[in-house]
Symmetry: C2
Subunit: 338 residues, 2 copies
DNA sequence: CTGAAAGCGCTTACAG
DNA sequence: CTGAAAGCGCTTACAG
C-alpha cells in the first residue's frame, strides 16, 4: 500500500518561491511576461523542483475553460472515422486541447447519452459524426453556446457547420474516370441514405450526373449488407448489361468490401466489369488487379474540423482558416481498365 | 450573437427545491436513499425542469474523482488498437467513466507529452499501449498512485499489470495448425521486437517451439517494411525450401499485409506456400483463397483492461474479475492448405 | 433525515 | 510589476 504523494499544488509552489498564488497562476497562464524576470525565475525553479503542473479540472472550474474537445463517432471501427480522428488529434495537440472520444456504435440512444456526458465535462467544442436526429441533448448543448461541427453527416434543422468530402465533386470525378475508361453503364451502391447526408448527396448527384453524361445508371441500396442478395443483384445487373461495358461504383468503404466479396463469389473479374470505390483502404492495392478509389483527405478533414471549432471559440481574435468541402484524390488501378 | 444561457447549477436547484446544497449533492451522488421520499421528489423535479446535470469538473475537484480514464495508443490507425479501444469504450460506459484517448504515433517524445497532459486532467486510471521506456512522466504518475495497465506491450522495470494476447499459446496454436497441414519449415516474420514485449515473446516462443516440434525455422525482421527487400528475402527463403513444404507465419497485421503484397509481386500462390497471420483483418477472407489467421479477442482485451483498472480503484470493494492473457481464435482458410 | 460551513486548486477583477 | 480576496460548482466531515 504505497503512500501516494499527492501532486504538488499551486500554493506549494507559491510558498516555495516566496510569491503569491496570483503570480504563480500568471506564470502558467497567459500573463507570464507581466512578471519580472527574477520572479519568473524563482517560480520556474520551484515549480520544476516540485514537478508542478496546473490541475486542469480546477482551471476549468474558474474562467480558464476546460481545454477539452469532444468527438462523437458513429462507428469507431470504420477506418474512415479513425483516419479523421487522427487528424483531429493532430490539430488538438497543436491548439493545446485534449480530446474525449465517444463511440455511439450507430445507436441514437447511446448518442444522446454520450452527448450528456460530454456536457458534464464542460467540453469547449464538439465534433459530431451524427447518427440520430438532434434530440434534446444536442439542442441543450447548442443553446448553451458550445461550438459544433458536423462531420460528414449533416443534420437538418441544426445550423452548424458541416465538414467533409465534396460529395458532388467526388461523384463527378468518379463518373468522369469511368466514362473515360469506356464504361457506358454504372451501378451505384450505397448504404441506406436516410440518416447520412453524405450518402444522400452522393446518391442524388450520381443520378443527375450519370444522366447528364448519358451513362446508363442504376442504384443498389444495401440495408444489412446481406451477401447473398447483393450477389444476386449484382449478377442480374451484369447480365442485363451484356452488350455494353459496365462498372460498379461504391459509395464508401463498407459497400466496396461487400461488392468485392460479391465479385469474388460470382467469379467476376474486375476490369472487364469495372469496380471503383470512395474511400481508400489498405487492401485496395492488394486485391488483384488493384481497386481504383477516391481517397478522402482524412487528416485534412479532421484538422479543419478542429480549426472550425477554434474559430468559433476565438470570436474576434485571428483564427485559423479552414475548408468545409474537401476534394478527393483519384487513385487509378486495374479494376477500372476494361 | 446568442446570449448563451449558462447551464443550471446545484445552487439553483437547491433554491428551487427549497433544499440545501448538501441534499442536492446527495441526490446526485451515492447517498440518494438517505433522503426522504418527499425531498427526493422535490429535488428530482427541480433538477429536471432546470435541465441540471452536475458539473464533473467541479466534482472531480473535491473528493468525487474525475471519472475520467486515459488511454494511450501507439498507433491509432492500427485496426487492432482500434478494436481494443472499442472494448475499452464499452467497459467505460458500463462503469460510468469517460475516456480521453491520446495517440502517440509511435513517438516516445509525444508519449511523454500526452502522459503529462493526462495527469493534468486527473485521470483516475491509465491504459497504456507503450512505445517508449517509462520516462519521468510515467514514473510520476505511478508514484502519485494512478492505477495503470499495460496493453499488449510490457515495460521492463515497471511493475504494472499487462493485458493482452497469450502470446505463447498463439504461437503454439499456429505451429500446431501449420504442422498438421503438412508444412515442414516455417518462416516467422516480425517487426523489430526491441520496444514491444509481445513481439519478443512471440519471436522467442516461435524459435523454441518450432525447434521442439522438429520444424525448420527461420526469422525475418521487418524494420521499415521496405517491400523490395522483403520480396527478395521471401524469394530466397522459398527457393531454399524447394524440397519440403514451407509456410510464412506473420506476427501481426502489418507484417501480414506486407507479406501478402510480396506473395502477389512474386506471383507465389498461397497454400502451396503457406501463409498465416496473427490478427484478423477484414480483407483476410477476401484475398483468394482466404488467409488463415488467429483472431485476437479485442473486445475482451479492452474490457478486461478497464476491469483491471476498476479493481485497483476499488481496493476493498468487490471488483470485477479479469484475465491477463487472452486466447486467440483460429480461423482456417485456404492459405494454409498445401 | 437534513443542513451550515469549510475547502478542493485554480483564476480574475480590484488595488496598490 | 505584485498580491489579497472573492468565487468557480461541487463534496464531505461535522452537528443536529
Amino acid at each position: 500500500m504505497p503512500i501516494s504523494p499527492r501532486r504538488a499544488t499551486l500554493i506549494e509552489v507559491a510558498k516555495m518561491a516566496g510569491a503569491s498564488k496570483t503570480s504563480v497562476s500568471r506564470f502558467f497562464g497567459t500573463e507570464r511576461d507581466k512578471l519580472s524576470a527574477e520572479l519568473q525565475q524563482r517560480i520556474g525553479e520551484s515549480a520544476k523542483s516540485l514537478g508542478y503542473r496546473p490541475n486542469q479540472m480546477a482551471r476549468g472550474l474558474k474562467g480558464g475553460g476546460s481545454r477539452l474537445l469532444g468527438m462523437l463517432v458513429a462507428d469507431i471501427r470504420n477506418p474512415f472515422s479513425v483516419a479523421v480522428m487522427h487528424g483531429v488529434e493532430l490539430a488538438c495537440r497543436d491548439y493545446g486541447y485534449a480530446l474525449i472520444v465517444c463511440n455511439t456504435d450507430n445507436d441514437p440512444a447511446l448518442e444522446q447519452q454520450h452527448l450528456a456526458t460530454l456536457a458534464t465535462y464542460q467540453v469547449e467544442g464538439l465534433i459530431i459524426n451524427a447518427v440520430g436526429q438532434p434530440g434534446q441533448a444536442l439542442q441543450a448543448l447548442m443553446e448553451s453556446g458550445v461550438p459544433l461541427v458536423l462531420l460528414d453527416r449533416d443534420i437538418s434543422r441544426l445550423n452548424a457547420e458541416v465538414i467533409g468530402l465534396d460529395n458532388a465533386l467526388a461523384i463527378d470525378m468518379a463518373l468522369a474516370h469511368l466514362s473515360r475508361q469506356g464504361y457506358r453503364s454504372i451501378l451505384y451502391v450505397s448504404e441506406t441514405p436516410e440518416r447520412a447526408s453524405a450518402r444522400q448527396e452522393r446518391l442524388q448527384r450520381f443520378g443527375e450526373q450519370a444522366e447528364a453524361m448519358g451513362l446508363g445508371n442504376q442504384t443498389l441500396i444495401l440495408s444489412h449488407s446481406e451477401l447473398p442478395s447483393c450477389e444476386t443483384a449484382l449478377a442480374m445487373y451484369v447480365e442485363q448489361q451484356a452488350d455494353s461495358p459496365c462498372a460498379v461504383l461504391c459509395g464508401n468503404g463498407t459497400t466496396l468490401l461487400t461488392m468485392a466479396k460479391c465479385f469474388k463469389r460470382l467469379n467476376l473479374s474486375m476490369g472487364p466489369v469495372g469496380l471503383m470505390g470512395i474511400d481508400e483502404l489498405e487492401w485496395c492495392e492488394l486485391l488483384t488487379p488493384g481497386i481504383t478509389t477516391l481517397a478522402q483527405p482524412t487528416d485534412g478533414i479532421g484538422r479543419d474540423s478542429v480549426a472550425c471549432l477554434i474559430s468559433q471559440l476565438a470570436r474576434n481574435k485571428p483564427s485559423p482558416p479552414y475548408q468545409n468541402r474537401h476534394a478527393p484524390r483519384l487513385i487509378i488501378r486495374g479494376s477500372t481498365a476494361p
